[in-house]
């Protein structure tokens, strides 16, 4: 793979895209896991398909519009919509998410149907195609990474407070709803960033698996973010290499690698806690 990396631009782009994705996943995935927002993240990522469709449709009229731009705008709005829907209506949270999840995807299918001609790279949005990431994609991913990281740096203590105890945050006078909605927007940005890497259907995996692995080893949110970025990077590197060597779908291979990584870290942490229990009881007797 090293050889390919040196010679092929697309391999270099793929690598950079993977690393940029790992940063966003590590940070936002940590919130998704500790604040239990996995289902709503799944909803946001699937609803983004509506934006892909919208982008396709509009690109025939406006030349600079791409499906990803469509996804960016549409996903932000659907994240906000979902957040407000979940908080303000009497429907249960999972019901409202389920509705918007499906409606978003249906919008995408309709728009794609309305767009004349064949849409050859549709599958690349559903399943990812890290090997076709362009320079422009990378620039956009980089910008999204910067926005995500800066926002989290600025609002770290507020996000920590509402993630741990929303009710107490309200009693403190924190704007808990606005903070929650902004967090959903960050998830939306992460989703857009990940579409090219693993595809809409597998995004939820990268938002959960590295963070869930990191959680086995630390009790600090900050360390959990850093560690899950590291796990994400390992998953991307190994996954990319395996997919290259074995000629497998890159997105799926990255996910399977991170799945394997999770199994390992889960096993290690179980083993460690058993050992420390043994030591503790040994020390007492």
């Amino acid at each position: 793979m090293i050889d390919a990396l040196l010679h092929y631009q697309f391999m270099q782009n793929a690598l950079v895209a993977g690393l940029l994705a790992a940063v966003a996943c590590g940070i936002i995935g940590t919130y998704v896991v500790v604040k239990r927002m996995v289902f709503i993240s799944g909803g946001i990522s699937h609803a983004s398909f509506g934006g892909i469709g919208l982008g396709y449709y509009l690109s025939q009229f406006i030349s600079w519009v791409t499906p990803v731009y469509g996804a960016l705008v549409f996903t932000l709005f659907s994240a906000l919509g979902m957040g407000v829907f979940v908080k303000r209506t009497r429907l249960s949270e999972d019901t409202s998410i389920g509705i918007l999840w499906a409606v978003g995807m249906a919008v995408g299918i309709i728009f794609i149907g309305l767009t004349p001609g064949y849409t050859p790279d549709l599958f690349s949005y559903l399943f990812g195609s890290i090997l076709t990431v362009s320079k422009a994609d990378l620039i956009m991913m980089g910008i999204l990474d910067v926005i995500i990281t800066l926002t989290v740096l600025l609002l770290y203590k507020e996000y920590l407070a509402i993630s741990f105890d929303q009710e107490f945050g309200m009693a403190l006078g924190l704007p808990t709803e606005r903070l929650y909605l902004s967090l959903l927007c960050l998830i939306a940005l992460t989703v857009v960033l990940l579409i090219r890497v693993v595809g809409i259907i597998l995004i939820i995996a990268l938002l959960t698996i590295p963070a869930a692995s990191a959680r086995q080893f630390t009790h600090s949110l900050k360390n959990m973010m850093l560690l899950s970025i590291a796990f994400g990077i390992v998953a991307v590197l190994v996954g990319l290499w395996l997919s290259y060597e074995l000629d497998l779908a890159s997105g799926a291979t990255i996910i399977l690698t991170s799945g394997a990584l999770f199994l390992c870290s889960f096993g290690i942490s179980r083993l460690r806690s058993r050992l420390s229990l043994n030591n503790a009881s040994g020390g007492c007797s």
Binding site: V34, R36, L154, L155, Y156, K157, E158, L160, A161, S163, F164, D165, E167, F168, G169, M170, A171, L172, G173, L174, R215, T218, H219, S220, L221, N223, M224
Partner: protein, 253 residues
């Protein structure tokens, strides 16, 4: 005359269109240790939410330290009813306590050194400073509750509100916890909300009973009629010996 910290004047509150609180008049003074009891669903939590400015009364007026609750709430130290927080949540005791500073800190900044010192001070006040780096979920229920008290103290409150503080504390630890409250009582008035009359009555100095309406005579005594009206069924009389008496003596019974 002692200073008034909280005042409710003819306060009515509605929740989802039904009246939860009816014509509540209550004043809490600077050196009060008030137990607020009442059946579940009697409006205790609603009353706390009124004080914290999380809901507005449908009628009447709530003042906290002479201001409206939204402004006054930063002077209230609040210990919420023990929520089923995720025991695995990656947060240390120190970080939990620091969140109590958020009503005072500026947005977009890190916690200052002074914030950290205040948090350490609050942890010392509840005898939990040694545990500051521990993950919160690894502590016992009683220890967690102390940490949540520290989190309330770190905002330098002028009133401490505790909602069902004993629900997650083992019985042997409850005594310790009440002693802590006795100590804190020297510094600020305390309102303790509980559905359990007997547990509260021994320690608090005044008792009010709430079920839509408030039964309160400015002291520790409630009449059986009050309790019956509040709980809407005859209540078993409990007496803890003369020093801890809750109810009036019933000479003729």
């Amino acid at each position: 005359m002692s200073e008034e910290v909280v005042k409710l004047k003819n306060v009515w509150a509605q929740y989802d269109g039904t009246t939860v609180l009816e014509d509540i008049n209550l004043s809490i003074n600077k050196d009060d240790f008030l137990g607020l009891i009442g059946p579940n669903g009697g409006g205790k939590t609603t009353l706390l939410k009124l004080l914290l400015g999380l809901i507005a009364p449908s009628r009447g007026e709530v003042t906290v330290l002479g201001e409206n609750p939204e402004k006054g709430r930063k002077h209230i130290g609040y210990v919420p009813q023990h929520s089923l927080f995720d025991r695995d949540f990656p947060i240390s005791v120190m970080e939990v306590v620091l969140t109590g500073r958020l009503s005072h800190t500026k947005r977009f900044r890190r916690y200052s050194r002074a914030d950290r010192q205040d948090a350490a001070e609050a942890l010392r006040a509840v005898d939990m400073l040694d545990f500051q780096d521990r993950q919160i979920g690894l502590l016992s229920g009683g220890q967690q509750q102390r940490v949540f008290v520290a989190r309330a103290l770190v905002g330098e409150p002028k009133l401490l509100l505790l909602d069902e503080p004993m629900s997650n504390v083992d019985t042997p630890m409850q005594e310790d916890f009440y002693e802590l409250l006795q100590r804190l009582k020297q510094r600020m008035p305390i309102v303790l909300v509980s559905h359990d009359i007997s547990a509260v009555s021994v320690y608090v100095e005044k008792i009010a009973c709430l079920n839509r309406r408030l039964f309160y005579h400015g002291g520790k005594e409630l009449t059986p009629e009050d309790l019956e009206a509040a709980y809407q069924c005859p209540i078993q009389m409990i007496a803890h010996g003369v020093p801890h008496r809750v109810l009036k003596e019933h000479i003729n019974e």
